[in-house]
Subunit: 312 residues, 2 copies
DNA sequence: TTCAGCTTTTGTCCTTGACAAAAATAGATC
DNA sequence: GATCTATTTTTGTCAAGGACAAAAGCTGAA
């Protein structure tokens, strides 16, 4: 059941004027939407193609040249982000250029949310979700984390980047939700945690490994997390605990979770402060994962032990 | 020297489609812009009149009835129906929205972010930004706000809904970013504020009115906001101050902003606690806007007085 | 009153033609 | 060969008027 969009919706979706959409069709037959008695109906594939065409234009090509190219070539073209002449294209562009990241970095520093979102969606056009996570999002977040520690970034930058990444996450969630999902994870941090990056990165990684993710965000008291767990009945609750010296309040929150969650639900504690608070929580199914590498390993292990069949 | 706008700029400025603008002129001669060799040129007065017509429509009048009224009567008409909570007016509205909203409400209660995002983006295709804001986002937020006070909703629900609305905003930002926008707004709340809803709604409304919006999110100390303002050099800084009894800390933050911002930057304080903290801030360009209705009015006023800049 | 049917209103989409700003090309001069 | 100007092509945007369907308004009957 192919979803179809009327022209105005496509204009919204792609940011291309209705005038231009019609002109492209009339002159170059860039896309040929279905027609009903009154009006055009664009398919998902049409919209994707239009987005590709748009990025090609942004790379300096002219519509007349690229309008009739097949989709595959357009995709390739989008990879070559630089407006160099198509002939001189020397890079197979298998990986993301450093300049891409520096462009994003500058946008973050300048609090320029428009550019960040634009770049993200551009990259999402030709990177697989896996690549997107590993080559763009995680490096950026690591970088941001470091800069934060060095006092270069400020809260505003963290908020902004987090918001944009969550944006992206929304897209990934939609892709993932089709294939059933390996298992359901619920992620949050208790109050008093300074950063959202860690738990957000974890959420991205889990998504990318095919898990269903409920990302509740930072700053949630244990009572709330328990209530959410009751609603969503996840297989695992992941708690980000970054602080090294846990306050009694945080300790109590962790204990509350450990004892309040049903026995069938595992509790994973992530972050450098995780080991400290885990000691108090005597309970099976509690795991300490000090960094994202351990977290990812654990995800893989979980998959292999809890799944017999292969997944997509 | 009368600045004049081409039709597309007017469409962006007023939120009225180019088709509709032409139809109104053709059928009712609602406004008669100047003509040059090619295309219409609307004056500031024309734009103001169109804005008045639009508010008249939003008050339930039909275009055929009001199109030929003189400006003064339109103004009267808008004033007459505005003070009685124009947006919140329990309209006959659409019955469809009720089922839509209840579906969304269930999704929020169940913390089902996938469904929320899907519904939002689906609605965004068929509703104009105006409708989206007034008929979906604001009612939901109001509902959520109430339920929060009654203890039905919890922090998790607020976080989730805020995140999804921000997602939506991201989409609007991209659409709006094209033609420079009317003016640049920077929105945030100081620390200790409980809710993000108010300032988030304000951001949506501003976007919908064609302003460029930098949404920094909740919980930002004045120092950060000042730093961000230095980076983005906005025309207006909007600060959400919901709490009724301002703590000294909040008061100090507001004072810091009032004195730290350049003279050319206005400071708008929104929320029920705004009046309290504004007293201390002796400075021109400080405005107190107690609710979203006032905020929207102020936006419209700002547009009609400051409309003179060039556009792309 | 309420409700089914009819009429008017009104927003949106269509097509074709046109124009101007920008880009590309060609030609001329140093 | 390089630089500059003039001409052609490309391409986004606007216009006019016709058309249609969903919504709103209106009618008369139950």
């Amino acid at each position: 059941m192919p979803v179809q969009y009327p022209i105005r919706a496509v204009a919204k979706l792609t940011g291309i004027t209705v005038d231009t959409l019609r002109a492209w069709e009339r002159r170059y037959k860039a896309v040929i939407p279905d027609r009903v008695s009154r009006g055009r109906l664009y398919s998902d594939a049409d919209v994707r193609r239009l987005l590709l065409l748009k990025t090609a234009l942004e790379c300096g090509h002219s519509i007349g040249r690229v309008a009739s190219l097949p989709d595959a070539e357009l995709q390739e073209l989008a990879r070559a982000s630089f407006p160099s002449s198509p002939v001189l294209r020397t890079q197979p562009a298998a990986r993301v250029d450093l300049t891409e990241l520096s462009k994003l970095r500058r946008a973050i520093e300048a609090l320029d949310s428009t550019t960040i979102n634009d770049e993200f969606s551009r990259l999402a056009l030709f990177l697989s979700p896996t690549e997107l996570v590993h080559k763009v999002v995680l490096p950026l977040m690591r970088l941001a984390g470091e800069n934060w520690e060095n006092g270069i970034y400020q809260i505003a930058q963290e908020h902004l980047l987090s918001a944009c990444v969550r944006n992206l996450m929304g897209g990934l969630v939609r892709l993932q939700s089709r294939s059933g999902g390996v298992a359901r994870l619920l992620l949050a941090t208790p109050p008093e945690e300074l950063h959202e990056f860690g738990i957000l990165s974890a959420a991205m990684l889990a998504l990318e490994h095919g898990f269903q993710v409920d990302y509740l965000g930072p700053n949630l008291p244990a009572r709330e997390i328990l209530a959410a767990a009751a609603l969503r009945s996840p297989d695992v609750v992941v708690l980000g605990v970054l602080k090294l010296n846990a306050t009694p309040a945080v300790q109590r929150d962790v204990d509350l979770l450990a004892s309040g969650l049903p026995a069938s639900t595992e509790l994973w504690l992530g972050g450098s402060g995780a080991a400290d608070v885990a000691n108090g929580a005597a309970r099976t199914g509690v795991f300490v994962l000090e960094d994202l590498v351990q977290f990812e390993l654990h995800l893989a292990r979980w998959k292999s032990t809890h799944l017999q069949g292969a997944d997509a």
